[in-house]
């Protein structure tokens, strides 16, 4: 992890161009690193496919004879499931403990010496990883699903670009949440508790186990407007299956962008507080 960022030349001036070059180099390194785990990608893809079948059949059974449930028809449910299985790997909702591990071992001190802010450098790495996952993990389920189920194809031309933007924002929102969960290690040392809460909560609250529309109205509204979870999975998928009219879709993606700003600011704040604490410990 650390060696990746260490190879990047420090920015020489206050210009924007070197910053972008640095960001790009770190992202590219993240992409390459994950492109080497090809066997793991294949194994993960198999798992996503099995769960795609399971969830698809279960949701279709919930739609029953009527053929619609919570505002989704059968084809929309199928697209929701298969795109969701792909997106799951792109946002890397589970299993990221890089930061927490480095905090526990003290290696994080090396990150602080680098000229790039830790939040920025970890985000760049994560975007590189997500780029590889988009090719290796998002595309296959989108190809496999239609072979076995009637899927929904977006009707509006703007839907696919909006979905891609929404998916990108979802990656950053998920990264922000994971960073915050990992950063509790600065205070707790042992992050198993927060990690368990995150693993349990994120799947249910993001709309993986069931579309949040299945929940009673008020509960869904609270989740939707007061928490970042739907922005991780539910929003991009709803955009893709055109559950709401285009204007609502745009508003939802705007809300995702809002969460991106809030979460990244929070990450930086938490990081700064933690660094002060580290100095006290080290002194």
């Amino acid at each position: 992890m650390g060696s990746v960022t260490a190879t990047v030349a420090p920015p020489t001036g206050a210009h924007v161009t070197p910053w972008f070059r640095t960001f790009g180099a770190i992202a590219a390194a993240g992409f390459r690193r994950h492109a080497t785990y090809r066997q793991a990608a294949v194994a993960g893809l198999c798992t996503n496919t099995v769960f795609g079948f399971l969830r698809c059949y279960i949701f279709l059974a919930a739609a029953g004879a009527a053929g619609t449930v919570a505002g989704y028809d059968r084809a929309q449910l199928a697209t929701f499931v298969w795109a969701g299985q792909g997106l799951l790997a792109v946002i890397a909702i589970w299993g990221w403990t890089d930061l927490a591990d480095r905090i526990r071992t003290g290696e994080v001190a090396a990150d602080l010496l680098r000229p790039v802010h830790p939040v920025t450098s970890y985000l760049a790495t994560d975007l590189g990883r997500a780029g590889f996952a988009a090719l290796a993990r998002l595309v296959p389920p989108l190809v496999i699903g239609p072979f076995f189920f009637a899927v929904y194809v977006p009707r509006h031309w703007a839907t696919v670009p909006l979905f891609l933007l929404s998916a990108l924002l979802a990656v950053v929102v998920c990264f922000g949440c994971r960073y915050l969960v990992n950063a509790t290690a600065y205070w707790l040392q042992d992050v198993r508790g927060p990690m368990i809460l995150w693993t349990l909560g994120s799947g249910v609250l993001a709309g993986l186990y069931f579309p949040l529309g299945f929940l009673p109205g008020p509960l869904e509204a609270v989740l939707r407007y007061a928490t970042p979870f739907p922005s991780i999975l539910q929003v991009p998928l709803d955009v893709l299956v055109e559950r709401e009219p285009m204007s609502t879709g745009l508003a939802l993606v705007g809300m995702q962008a809002g969460w991106v700003v809030v979460l990244l600011a929070l990450c930086r704040l938490v990081q700064r507080r933690a660094e002060r604490r580290l100095v006290v410990q080290g002194g």
Binding site: F51, L54, A61, A62, R192
Partner: protein, 279 residues
């Protein structure tokens, strides 16, 4: 691992048992040492099984029946599945870590001791924190059995005892079977998950929910239909919409024995095939 020191003393049968008990005791002590972490784990682990059940409840919030089964009937299926899975996960679930044991060379250390490799690995890493899930799974099963309006006969009482045990054996076999793949392919962790956790999700619903070759493969090819679906039908006294006779519910122990035998065989072959990483 400090427990290795007791190995020479176990030449006779009674000694082996004492060695296993020492392994288990060391595990219990080390896990209880960090009390807060242990309590957090204990509470957090219930969550996974709670959400399995919540998911079923939420889906029944938007539909009255699933694959021709009501919520009460489906809960019997869920109860058998989650009780069986959570208990098997507690007892042998940590065999999932086999790829790491192989990579770090710990597996070599296990093989040179004069004890069975599989029991050693399981006792060295028995995740006591998962106890909470197993208890919750059992509670769901008891609640489901109590509220489903089952017409109890001596036969059904016996089945209600035997079926969860068979489910535990079956899931435990699946854990071991899928773990042995990592003797051949170290990166197979996620592949194993698709069968273990996929199997758990599959058995949480009546198999009538699924269709086509996917159902044929998971339900009858791999035998998952006999974990919860067919025993539940027999307990509820319902005919199988797919046409299997009522005695299929009683096939669960037989299927579990077949699974356990193949798991034992696969483990033996896998250990023989194992070559140390040399690191």
């Amino acid at each position: 691992m400090a427990e290795g020191g007791s190995a020479p003393a176990v030449a006779e049968g009674g000694g082996a048992l004492r060695a296993y008990r020492a392994l288990l005791g060391a595990q219990a002590r080390s896990q209880a040492a960090y009390r807060t972490s242990f309590v957090v784990d204990l509470v957090g682990n219930v969550g996974a099984t709670v959400f399995d059940v919540v998911t079923v409840l939420v889906i029944f919030g938007v539909t009255r029946e699933l694959g021709g089964f009501t919520l009460r009937e489906t809960l019997v299926v869920v109860g058998l599945s989650s009780c069986g899975f959570a208990t098997a996960d507690l007892l042998v679930g940590n065999i999932e870590r086999l790829p790491r044991y192989v990579r770090t060379g710990l597996f070599d250390a296990v093989l040179v001791r004069p004890l069975g490799a599989l029991p050693q690995l399981l006792l060295m890493d028995l995740p006591l924190r998962k106890l909470s899930r197993a208890v919750f799974g059992l509670a769901v099963l008891l609640f489901a059995l109590g509220s489903a309006g089952i017409d109890w006969t001596p036969g059904r009482v016996a089945l209600a005892v035997v079926a969860p045990l068979a489910a535990v054996v079956f899931f435990a076999s699946v854990f071991v079977l899928t773990a042995t793949v990592s003797f051949y392919w170290v990166d197979s962790g996620e592949l194993a998950n698709s069968v273990t956790y996929g199997g758990r999700d599959f058995t949480s619903y009546p198999v009538t929910v699924y269709g086509g070759w996917f159902r044929a493969l998971f339900a009858y090819g791999m035998g998952f239909a006999f974990v919860s679906y067919h025993p539940a039908l027999a307990l509820l006294g319902r005919a199988d919409p797919l046409g299997l006779p009522p005695w299929a519910g009683w096939a669960a122990p037989g299927v579990a024995v077949v699974a356990a035998t193949s798991a034992a065989l696969a483990w033996r072959v896998g250990v023989r095939h194992y070559r140390s990483t040399g690191s």
